[in-house]
């Protein structure tokens, strides 16, 4: 029996196990929308802006580990997704983006709502396709999902001309994918694992530096096991937060920082994490890519260390920092193999060997702990984040916008489980947090999902509040409202002679009334003692909530490494 392109589209999505599409209709994809009601197993979330659709698919993918899917129309519909696609690309998020396209005879004619989206997204997708023949449609969709989730994951775009969607053919879903040029190395080289172990077992001052790859490959248990067996301290990147349990339960049931946890490293990393990296003798990078926000001045990064690096993407190895022992492969597999070696041959007198190093780290922690003081009448933004951590259940999912709100979340919310922090690390996309929270809430309707936002960032995609209300997705938005574009203001204060040009947001909407206008709940706290009651009320409400916290406008994120400096050159307050 012959199926139309639109029917084939849905059959393919079912084969891939797709449960939800984030989308926005238009002329070029109207045939797909016409077919949609016949496939009730696939839920459609109607967004208010296509950027929101891309971020929601991204948030869904990061929270679940599955491929996120969005569907938009041609032209402006397609271009509106580009920021979302680039965000996912930088953070290796598996996504398939379907864009409508004008009919093939009109391509290149500057037709209505035509744009070369395959050309536009070539540098920010893992791969992309223009489907020119309905007979290729099933194969291409199969390849797109395979590419999106395998190797180093990433977004794959499929451009669907209207006539291809309307044409018919026999539906055959390929059993296997055959791509001659694509064979990611997943199994690490055993010899390299041995070399890594030889280096690690003689290390006096090792540091494990984990990135988003640990979370993507679900290697968090293996990482914890390795750290404990080596008694090695662990730092993670922003993307790696949650890949190592920052907090454990003590015997009396209290929560305490894991003794091997250093906190995040880099520009806004902790003093002890940065000092540990700068003084270690072996730095073991696991699924991390030596981003400039992590390394600071490259030539002065980890100057005393031999470096081991696991990454599934060979281009990440020795790109920024020259590596002594490269291991190309999946983090989980590599750590499993390494752990086997460590188990077989425990390091003798480990406690004594490690004592001076751990003592040094303890001293660094005591010298400059992460600290702020909640005093006076104004709310400190850090206090809000700490209270969220205190009151939220352990499986809560936190998303952030970008800027100070993001860094305070990274510093003061102690992530213990993977896939509980969704944040735009690589691209730094303001406006990411709310739609990502909606995507995560679609995947986990019963979990608490909180977007920690700034008053600047939240306005980049505030329209998606309507999506949350419509679909009864009870996301909570906590706005750290400082009436500034805070992070840029902080740079202006420190490095641009306090010239606060274009960073003052003295005219913003009344966020409580705005919540009300969308049909959500609006709450406000202007004094420190109001923070906890507002959070408690929000967390117990089964509807979307915007919380407007009026925080100290001139609070900064510290420590801070000025751009271009070595990461030991920190501004501490």
């Amino acid at each position: 029996m012959k199926l139309t392109g639109a029917q084939i589209f849905f059959e393919c999505l079912k084969k891939e196990g797709v449960e939800v599409i984030f989308g926005f209709p238009g002329g070029a994809v109207i045939d797909i929308y016409h077919e949609m009601p016949k496939h009730p197993s696939i839920r459609h979330i109607l967004v208010r802006h296509e950027q929101g659709a891309a971020h929601m698919a991204d948030g869904y993918a990061r929270a679940t580990g599955k491929v996120g899917v969005c569907l938009v129309t041609s032209g402006p519909g397609a271009t509106n997704t580009v920021t979302g696609i680039a965000t996912a690309y930088m953070d290796s998020v598996p996504m398939v983006i379907f864009t409508g396209q004008v009919p093939t005879p009109l391509i290149g004619n500057d037709a209505f709502q035509e744009v070369d989206i395959v050309g536009i997204t070539r540098p920010c997708t893992k791969h992309n396709y223009l489907v020119k023949d309905v007979n290729d449609l099933a194969r291409i969709i199969r390849e797109a999902f395979y590419l999106a989730r395998s190797g180093r994951p990433g977004p794959v775009l499929v451009d669907l001309p209207k006539d291809v969607i309307q044409a018919s053919t026999e539906f055959r879903y390929p059993k296997t994918v055959h791509l001659r040029g694509y064979k990611p190395t997943v199994d690490p080289h055993q010899g390299q694992i041995h070399r890594a172990w030889d280096l690690l077992k003689t290390a006096k001052r090792p540091v494990l530096y984990a990135g988003g790859g640990v979370i993507i490959s679900s290697a968090h248990k293996e990482l914890l096991r390795l750290a404990e067996m080596l008694r090695a301290p662990v730092t993670t990147t922003l993307m790696g937060l949650g890949g190592f349990p920052a907090v454990i339960r003590t015997e009396d049931g209290q929560r305490a920082l894991h003794p091997l946890w250093l906190g995040m490293l880099g520009m806004h990393g902790t003093f002890r994490a940065n000092m540990a990296v700068q003084n270690c003798d072996v730095l073991f990078a696991i699924g991390a890519r030596f981003d400039d926000r992590v390394t600071g001045k490259i030539s002065g990064f980890a100057p005393k260390a031999k470096i081991i690096h696991i990454d599934v993407d060979p281009t990440s190895i020795s790109k920024n920092v020259l590596v002594d022992i490269p291991i190309v492969g999946d983090c989980k597999k590599a750590l499993q193999k390494l752990n086997e070696l460590v188990e077989k041959e425990p390091i003798p007198n480990l406690e004594e060997l490690r004592a001076p190093w751990l003592e040094q780290i303890r001293q660094w922690k005591e010298t400059y702990p992460l600290a702020y003081k909640q005093e006076g009448e104004t709310i400190k933004p850090q206090y809000v984040v700490e209270k969220i951590f205190e009151l939220a259940p352990e499986d809560a999912i936190i998303t952030t916008e970008v800027g100070q709100n993001q860094m305070w979340t990274a510093q003061y919310f102690h992530f213990t489980k993977p896939r509980t922090l969704l944040t735009s690390g690589g691209l730094g996309t303001m406006g990411y947090g709310l739609p990502a929270a909606i995507g995560a809430q679609v995947a986990f309707p019963d979990r608490l999902v909180i977007d920690v936002a700034g008053d600047g960032s939240i306005q980049m995609n505030i329209q998606e509040m309507m999506t949350a209300v419509c679909h009864e997705l009870p996301v909570k938005v906590a706005i750290l409202n400082n009436r500034f574009l805070g992070m840029v203001r902080q740079w202006q204060e420190l490095f641009y002679n306090k010239n606060y040009c274009a960073t003052c947001l003295d005219a913003s909407p009344d966020f409580v009334k705005l919540a009300d206008a969308y049909g959500a709940v609006g709450l406000r706290a202007t004094k420190p003692e109001e923070v906890e009651p507002v959070l408690r009320e929000a967390f117990s409400t089964k509807r979307p909530v915007i919380m407007d916290f009026w925080v100290n406008p001139e609070e900064g994120v510290y420590p801070m490494v000025p751009a271009g400096k070595e990461i030991s050159e920190m501004l501490l307050v």
Partner: protein
């Protein structure tokens, strides 16, 4: 087979690609998007249906070259990247050179053509068009000599390269 340039070494790289739409733009876009330089680029189908070979010449230090090769390998449509650094290889380029050929210079032009084993492929009352094939040095040399007589136009193909076959 590399010579020193201001910003590093000159490298010839071969890229075997699937003949899909947009593949050349993916390769070229990778270079422009990452700030790598392309000095010359040739592309055409191979004997195997569906496959094309790109030969490109680029400059950069060893570190940049490593990145270029890794990034090329990462492209989905790229099947194989040939790094000619450590292997013997043959490279050729073809150039068409239109040169002024008046009564008193024709003999000299023909002599140069002969010496370089080039060919005159078009003749008109005032011009010869010459086809010449060779490595970079040879093309440079003939351009220099003919330049003294008067070159009107030049079209160069850019380099094509293959690794030498194993002797045994």
């Amino acid at each position: 087979m590399s010579m020193t340039r201001q910003n590093g070494l000159r490298h010839t790289i071969g890229v075997l690609v699937e003949n899909q739409p947009g593949v050349l733009s993916r390769v070229a876009g990778l270079f422009s998007g990452r700030g790598f330089n392309i000095e010359s680029l040739t592309v055409a189908e191979t004997n195997e249906p569906g496959l094309s070979r790109i030969t490109l010449v680029t400059t950069g230090d060893q570190h940049i070259l490593e990145q270029i090769i890794k990034q090329l390998n990462k492209l989905i449509n790229v099947i194989k990247v040939y790094d000619f650094r450590d292997t013997e290889f043959v490279e050729r380029e073809m150039a068409l050179i239109k040169v002024r050929a008046e009564q008193h210079t024709r003999a000299e032009v023909l002599r140069i053509v002969d010496i370089f084993r080039a060919k005159v492929v078009d003749v008109s009352p005032h011009f010869y068009t010459i086809e010449v094939t060779g490595d970079d040095g040879k093309i440079q040399a003939i351009l220099e000599l003919l330049g003294q007589i008067g070159i009107v136009e030049v079209a160069r193909t850019g380099k094509a390269a293959l690794a030498r076959a194993k002797k045994h």
